[in-house]
Symmetry: C2
Amino acid sequence: MPRRSRADSGVLPQPGEQTGETSGGSAPAEPELLHGVTAEPPNLEPEVAALDSFLTPAEVRFVRCHFEVPAIDLQGFALEVAGAVAHPLRLTLEDLRALPRRSVTVATECAGNSRVSLSPPPRGEPWAGGAVANAQWTGVPLTAVIDRCGLREDALELVFTGADQGLLPGGEQASYARSLPRSKAVEEDVLLALEMNGAELLPAHGAPLRLVVPGWYGMASVKWLQRIDAVAQPFAGWFQAERYLYVEYGAMAKVSRMRVKSMVTWPAAFAVLAPGPQRVRGFAWSGEGPIDKVEVAFEGGNDWREATLLDPQLPHAWRAWEIGWEPPAAGRYLLRSRATDARGNRQPAAPRWNEQGHGANAVQVVLVEVR
Amino acid sequence: MPRRSRADSGVLPQPGEQTGETSGGSAPAEPELLHGVTAEPPNLEPEVAALDSFLTPAEVRFVRCHFEVPAIDLQGFALEVAGAVAHPLRLTLEDLRALPRRSVTVATECAGNSRVSLSPPPRGEPWAGGAVANAQWTGVPLTAVIDRCGLREDALELVFTGADQGLLPGGEQASYARSLPRSKAVEEDVLLALEMNGAELLPAHGAPLRLVVPGWYGMASVKWLQRIDAVAQPFAGWFQAERYLYVEYGAMAKVSRMRVKSMVTWPAAFAVLAPGPQRVRGFAWSGEGPIDKVEVAFEGGNDWREATLLDPQLPHAWRAWEIGWEPPAAGRYLLRSRATDARGNRQPAAPRWNEQGHGANAVQVVLVEVR
């Protein structure tokens, strides 16, 4: 949706510039491919049409920060693992690099993505639809660390704490922290990621170490990870108990798995197309299961045609789709894609409103003109 | 919403080019200020930000055509008035110009305007929000013609028929025709308009003669008017009985008065603003009564501030409003305006869905970036 790019937040240095002693801080360059959603802390997203590749390049990946990007001393860095464990650990980057490695391709959407599509738009960062990305992550399976620390029997959840911190609305100082239930934490594809798309993480994406939780909205994939604490009680930190909740007319539920969703990445919104045959394409994803079907409509109303699903379905990646289309006449068209997952979840026509504006997975409309 | 303009539909000649013997047909030039909604017949609308003046210039006024723009022989032109009248009439343009004159400023919105904001978007021309305009019309009060023809006591409605005709979906040939109840037709501000904003009508806007019905959606203001028939039975033509209906979950009602609505005309959608004080402005209108209040929100959530209403309220015109705003920080903002009329009607947060997609008067969101 946004029409112009942003050039000055300084949180996305070129990969070559972040190899010094410190990650973050005065990182300089930034591509002009992202739009500022908030300036402080930096929250950035690309236009949906910039996401037109199976693996999302680092420079167009959305950036979600709850606090300023922390400056991290890479020499002194260590991941602490403590709490309800048999063997507390302290793992330097060198230690982590010596552990077993795994690569997983994961689609990750910000829980607040498409918040502006809700009527009325709730408070919160006004993400327009570009806060989703698909990347190949490489790092240490969380299970490898769990095997080494030994979870005690009373360990109910693992709490992941980032190096980013700041003031909560109430004035209290806090770090960003989120927990996973033990059952999720021991899944083999949950990663402590050191690399994205074959390159070191960028500061804006959580360097030097971040959690990657396949299938869940992005708030679970804690960036700048520096502590893991096994706890015997449900974690009740601000970002766990007060935020990332579906609050709907009094009812409340925690945000976790990504709702089924899809997007059109070509053509771009407001594109002007020449007459003739077109290939319309995009991606679909769900945290509940593989994508079963993507249908596309080209005008208002209910004429849906089934798109072709491309590539093999990787367990946690988004699924590419495409469909041929020949506009019958000059004029304006409304392109819409609608995904259904293997559990029968299907994108709703209208967004389901909730107070914090999470999980807005309604069918999106891309307006184009043929002339 | 549309980002690019359209240059080749040929329905909006410059005023100087339409003074020949024939109106319509091969009219050449067209400003690049309108976007094509459908090409055949021509339906065009400007971006909302192009509507940032109290009187909408002819070159940015939306064009709504049910059939192709008819070619009309101005020499042979006459308005026929017949049916349940005491004195059938045949009025040439010269006759009409000799009758009493009246000027009225009228806001007119297409009933399908903002159809694309409905979820899911219904079939029908995909108007994005620019199909509304405010103009000063000059012509003969319909009452002056009614006085001369003498409505019989059994005249229940007046049927207005345009010169535009074509095939209905069922294959039948039809002219565009709409009726008004007698009680509405005798209101003093209903006009047989010969001029818009002090100039002769353009072919696209109904030259040489059109009806202007203040307070009602645009379908009532029949263009290329050539017949008026007083009828003793409710008119049941296609555009009266099959279209311009609110069909909502089985219930049905006729589209008539414009629902209360407003729009932000500055800043434009997707504008990038420099920090510092801003004047946000726009217009509000209602077919139910004068505008009582316009409130504006600058972010998601429910912080509404009351805008200042400008100029005197003319009975049928839209109302200008403005409000000062200083963005607290760089970042993205969601500007929304919400109008309330003197009868207490207020724009809803979410659009009220109906099958044909009429009366979409929900609060609109203008996304801007400050940096």
